[in-house]
Structure formats: C-alpha cells, structure tokens
C-alpha cells in the first residue's frame, strides 16, 4: 500500500506540492489527472527520489517503509518503478546491458540470484514479443535515436522486465497512437494482480479505457482536489479541468 500524507515539496525554492494526501491500497491501480504544471511529474520525482526536489513536509510510505528516507536505488530495490514522462538517453550504454544491470542490481538487493547474459536475453525477448517490439531494441543504445513512442515503449519494457511492486507511470500514453497505447496498456494490465500497485498519471481519459483504474484523482495546483471512481475521468473529459477547479475553489 502506498500512503502519502500532507506531502509538500519545493523546486528551486518554489512550492509545487502543497499538501498531497493519497492512499493507494495494495493491488489497486489509481489514475492521477490534472492540467499541465499542476505537479504530477513533481510528485513522481519526489516519490522516486530525484535530486533538487525538496520535501518540506508530510510523509510517503510504501508497505510501512518510509520511501523518502531511501536513496533512489533503494526505492527501486524496495519495488518502486517510475516510467519517465521524458525517458533519458544514454549514449554509449546498450539497452540490453542497461536492463540486465538494473535487473541484477534489484535482484541482488532482494537476495535473489543474478541472471547471466543468456538467461537475461531469454527473458527480455519474451517480454519484447509480448509487447510487440522488435528484437533490435535491445541492441540499440538506451533511448538514443528512439522515436517518442519507442521511448515510452522502452519504459514499459523495463517495467515488464523489472516487475516492480509499485509502478508510477508518468504520461506514458502521451504522444502515442492507438496501437502503441494498447501495447502500453497491455504492459500494465499484464502485471495487474494482488502484488502490483500502480499510479497512472495521464492527461487523457482514453488510456483509462484500456487500463481501467480503481480510483481517479484530480491534481490541481499541487493538491488533490477531487477523487472518485472511473466515471470521474469521463466527467473531466466532458467538462474540462477549469470547471472542476473553479468548483473546488
């Protein structure tokens, strides 16, 4: 279970998160929607421990563990995964090597045996096929020369390989055509189960047609202003954020 209480955070001295309260019970998938600049990415970075995002109050725990006290790599070892809104390019780092290094780092931290190159490739290829991706994706440098859609799919591939217990997907659907969107949704749905908890950040209701969330939250100006069932996403699509923000004010 992910439990966020009164979380406030600043970037460059500017308060961006102004008191977030959010509980995502074990095994549930929640969606966070909200206008540009409302603090969605900031929340995902704070939860994953990016430098420069200063927590000024409140708490965030996962299964009772204080997430905010951990280094980013320790959060990953604890089962957290962030699919980046803007995946980072790593020239000179092969995708397969990158993913194997990550997987083995996480496995080591969990006391599981490491996978050798052959075992890893077998697993990676199986995931690639399930996500309808080309094998050569593994040979390329991480995200270098990838199209926007390929980058997003590469995030989903990493998630499928690392099998996190808690995933945050930050606008993984943005800029995808409908086929790519379905692939991303399948990637998430394949992991769904009692041991998988997820926060899906999106602008558009259309992703939520494919990943049906247990709850939908609306983030505006650093606060969650509304929460509800999947129908809230439809209400948003119809009415827009402005009226909802006005209503909440």
């Amino acid at each position: 279970m992910l439990e966020i209480k009164g979380l406030t955070a600043t970037v460059d001295g500017k308060e961006i998160l102004k008191g977030i309260d959010l509980v995502v019970p074990q095994g549930e998938v929640h969606a966070i929607m909200g206008p540009n600049g409302s603090g969605k990415s900031t929340l995902s970075y704070v939860l994953s421990g990016r430098e420069g995002y200063e927590v000024t109050g409140g708490s965030a725990t996962y299964d009772g563990q204080d997430l905010l006290a951990l280094a980013p790599e320790e959060r990953a070892a604890a089962g957290l995964f962030l699919a980046f809104q803007y995946p980072v390019e790593l020239p000179g780092v092969g995708n397969a090597n990158f993913m194997r290094t990550a997987l083995n780092a996480v496995r080591r931290a969990r006391g599981e045996p490491e996978l050798d190159a052959v075992q890893f490739l077998k697993r990676a290829r199986a995931e690639l096929r399930r996500l309808s991706m080309a094998d050569d994706m593994l040979k390329r440098n991480v995200n270098v020369g990838f199209s926007g859609g390929e980058k997003k799919r590469n995030e989903v591939l990493q998630m499928a390989i690392l099998r996190p217990k808690l995933a945050i997907l930050d606008e993984t659907d943005s800029g995808l055509d409908i086929d790519a969107l379905k692939i991303v949704a399948e990637g998430v749905n394949a992991l769904r189960g009692p041991d998988f908890t997820a926060v899906v950040i999106t602008h558009y209701q259309r992703l939520l047609d494919h990943i049906v969330p247990d709850r939908v939250h609306v983030l505006a100006d650093g606060r969650i202003i509304r929460s509800g069932g999947p129908e809230l996403a439809h209400a948003l699509e119809a009415g827009g954020y402005a009226s909802m923000i006005a209503e909440a004010a």
Binding site: G49, E51, E73, P87, V88, T101, A102, A105, L162
Partner: protein, 423 residues
C-alpha cells in the same frame, strides 16, 4: 662584482644528461655522427621549458628535480610485471628498462626485426628537444620491416620499467617501423613498470602506399614514472595510420605524435583517452601535416579527470597549399569528476589550401545528473551508475577498436583504474 645567474633546475638536469652522454658515448651502439650532432644540439637547447609555446601547459620541472642514471646491474626478472601483462596472444618484443630482452620475447616470423641498435632513421628532427635527448642517449630499439603486401598480424611491443635499481633510471629506446606498400599490421604497445624512471621512447613509423598500421597503445606506467614519448608517422598515398592511445599511468606523461600525410588520400586517426587521478598530469599533443590532396585526419580525445589531475590536449592541423579536399576533424572532450581537476585544450588550425573541410570542438563537464538519476531509479547504485556513465563516455573511442584482446585489455585496465579512484 659580477652576478652569476643560477642555472635553472631544467638546465641542471640537461647538464646531467650531457654528462651521462660523455661518460657513455664510446659504448653506445649505432651511428656515432648522428649522436654527436644530437649531443651538440642538446648542449645548445637543453630540455623544453615553460617559455615554449608547445610546452605552455606541461612543465618538466618535476622531472628536473630527479637525478636519473643508466639502468646498470643484473637483469631483472620482472616476474610481477610480466604476470600483470594483459593476456594478448602473439609475437612480442619485450624491452626491460629500455633494453631488448630476447629471453622474454617471441620474435615474429613473418616480419624482419632487428634489435641492439637504435634506429635513428630519417624522420626525427633535431628541433624536438626530447627527440634530441633520445638520439643522444638511445641504447637499443626495435627496427621492424614488413614486406610488400604482407599482412603481418599482431605484434606486441612491451616496455617494462623494472624498478629494480637503487636509483631512478632513464631509458630512451628508439624504434622504427616500416610497412611496405600494401602491407598491414597491428602494433600493440604496452608500457608498465615499478618505481621512479623516465621512459623517453621515440618511434619512427613509415606507412607506404596503401599500407595500414593499426597502432594501439596502453600507457600504464608506474605512478612515479615519467613517460615522454614521440611518434613520427609518415603516411603515403592511400595509406592509413590508425592509432588509439590509452593513458592511465605515470606521474607526468606526454605523448607527442607527428603525422605527415604526404601521399594522396593518406589518412591518420590519432585517437586517445586519458584517465587521470591524484596529482597526475598527462598531455596528448599532435601535429598533423596534410601535405597532399584528399588527405584525412580524425582525432577524438577523451579525458576523464579526478582528484587534482590535469589533462592537456594540443592538436595542430597544418594544411599545405597542395592539400586540397583535406578533411580534418578534431574533438577534445573532458569529464571533470572533481572540482580540482583541470583540462587545457589548444586546437590550432593552419590552413593554406582553400578547398578544405576542417573542424574542431571541445566539451567539458561533469556526469549528467539526469542520466545518473535514470540509472539509480532503475536500482543501479550510485557508484556503479557513475562507472557506467564514464564507460559510456569512453565508448566512442573504445568501441571502434577491432582487436578484441586489445580492447578487452583496455577495458580491464580502465576498470582497475576506476576502482583505484575514490569517486
């Protein structure tokens, strides 16, 4: 009263080298006339000093403070150093303290090799002071000849500083390598050692028409050593001198390469990586003379600097009037992993032809925090993430190395270097 100027430390050292020469000259092998001329020149010019443009960033003062002698005494067995050599198959020429050691070597069968006499050749000029010093004091060296059209495979040229003397020693090997038309070879040079010494090799390389030399160097000298090497590479029409030099060792190091592209479509790749920590200083200095049409030169130099290390790259490209359609490219990149590390970069283009393509660039920076965070968010610990990004920074230089064992040896040396740094 007459004020007598105190000689500088560099002058004192130069006098000392001259005195060494006077004591040894009757016993030194090879062309005595060349040596006499070199000694006369060295007596005039001495060691390069800070007022010279080419030595603005690299001071030989630390060297001047040490009294070097000749490596006399019983043959060192070098067991520990030999055990530390990378596992690369093939024939090898091993020099210990600058002297050829037949007992440790495996002479190649398909090329001509002569040792015991320094090969002065015709390329080295007396306007390079360290070359003059080498010419004056060289005791030994390898002269290698590859016949026309022969693919000579791989040859290792290994220099060990034995560290078995009670005093710092200096050695000045003099090598010459000639590839006849259409010949090819991969020369892998490895320099290692223990203790304090000066290794001042000069190598003259002649690549004839349509010949190809791949020259891979691993400079992993002792942390107290001085490595000052000069390479002259003359390349004929459609010939290629393809080199990569990895600098990891030494307290003070300079590699100087003079490439002369004198035949149409001759090419030179002068790539290098300098990985430095502590108080190390290393300098990679190149002069590429484009002297024929459609010649090409490529230089990618990567520096990874930690601690108080200082890296220098000086790259000069000269394009003669005849050298139309020249293509020259030069890039110097530095990763500064500590606030006290420093890089000095001096590109120089002298272009007298009008139809040429020449470019140079430089980048300096720390590791990218976004890339670090991306790796860490995937579970990779900070130290490993940094190591991955340093390796990635070097990949552009390392990945093109075709010789698998040499590349693996470089990877191993880089990993060991990284583990010695506390960053």
């Amino acid at each position: 009263m007459n004020a007598v100027a105190q000689p500088s430390a560099l002058q004192v050292r130069a006098q000392d080298f001259l005195a060494r020469y006077e004591g040894l000259k009757d016993r030194l092998p090879g062309d005595a006339a060349v040596r006499t001329a070199a000694a006369a020149a060295f007596a005039r010019t001495g060691l390069p000093g800070p007022r010279e443009e080419a030595w603005r960033y690299t001071s030989l003062r630390p060297l001047a403070e040490i009294g070097f002698r000749e490596p006399l005494g019983p043959l060192a067995d070098c067991a520990a150093l030999l055990a530390g050599l990378p596992a690369i198959e093939g024939p090898r020429l091993v020099f210990v303290d600058g002297r050829f050691r037949a007992d440790l070597s495996a002479v190649p069968s398909h090329v001509t090799v002569r040792t015991g006499t320094p090969a002065f050749g015709t390329l080295a000029r007396l306007d390079e002071k360290l070359v003059t010093l080498n010419t004056m004091l060289a005791e030994d060296g390898a002269t290698i000849d590859v016949a026309e059209g022969i693919d000579a495979g791989t040859l290792l040229l290994i220099s060990l500083g034995s560290g078995s003397h009670s005093h710092p020693v200096a050695f000045h090997p003099r090598h010459a390598l000639h590839l006849s038309p259409g010949a090819s070879m991969t020369l892998i040079e490895i320099a290692m050692g223990a203790g304090t010494y000066l290794h001042n090799p000069v190598t003259s390389i002649t690549v004839d028409a349509a010949a190809t030399l791949t020259h891979l160097r691993i400079q992993n000298e002792s942390p107290d050593a001085f490595h000052l090497s000069t390479v002259y590479a003359d390349v004929g029409a459609r010939g290629t001198y393809d080199s990569f030099a990895l600098t990891l060792g030494g307290r003070l190091a300079r590699m100087e390469v003079h490439a002369h592209l004198h035949g149409e479509k001759a090419a030179a790749h002068l790539n290098a990586a300098q990985l430095l920590g502590g108080n190390q200083h290393a300098d990679f200095t190149t002069v590429v003379a484009h002297d024929a049409p459609a010649t090409a030169s490529r230089q990618t130099v990567k520096n990874v600097l930690t601690g108080h290390a200082r890296g220098v790259f000086q790259g000069k490209i000269e394009v003669a009037r005849v050298a139309q359609k020249t293509d020259g490219y030069q890039m110097n990149q530095a990763l500064l992993l500590s606030p006290d590390a420093e890089i000095d970069s001096k590109p120089q283009l002298e272009i007298y032809a009008d139809d040429v393509k020449c470019s140079h660039g430089a980048t300096v920076g720390d590791l990218d925090p976004d890339q670090l965070f991306y790796l860490r968010s995937r579970g990779v610990a900070q130290a490993e993430a940094r190591s991955i990004l340093v390796r990635a920074f070097l990949s552009e230089a390392l990945d093109p190395i075709v010789h698998e064992e040499a590349r693996a040896a470089m990877e191993t040396a880089i990993t060991a270097w990284w583990e010695r740094q506390s960053v």
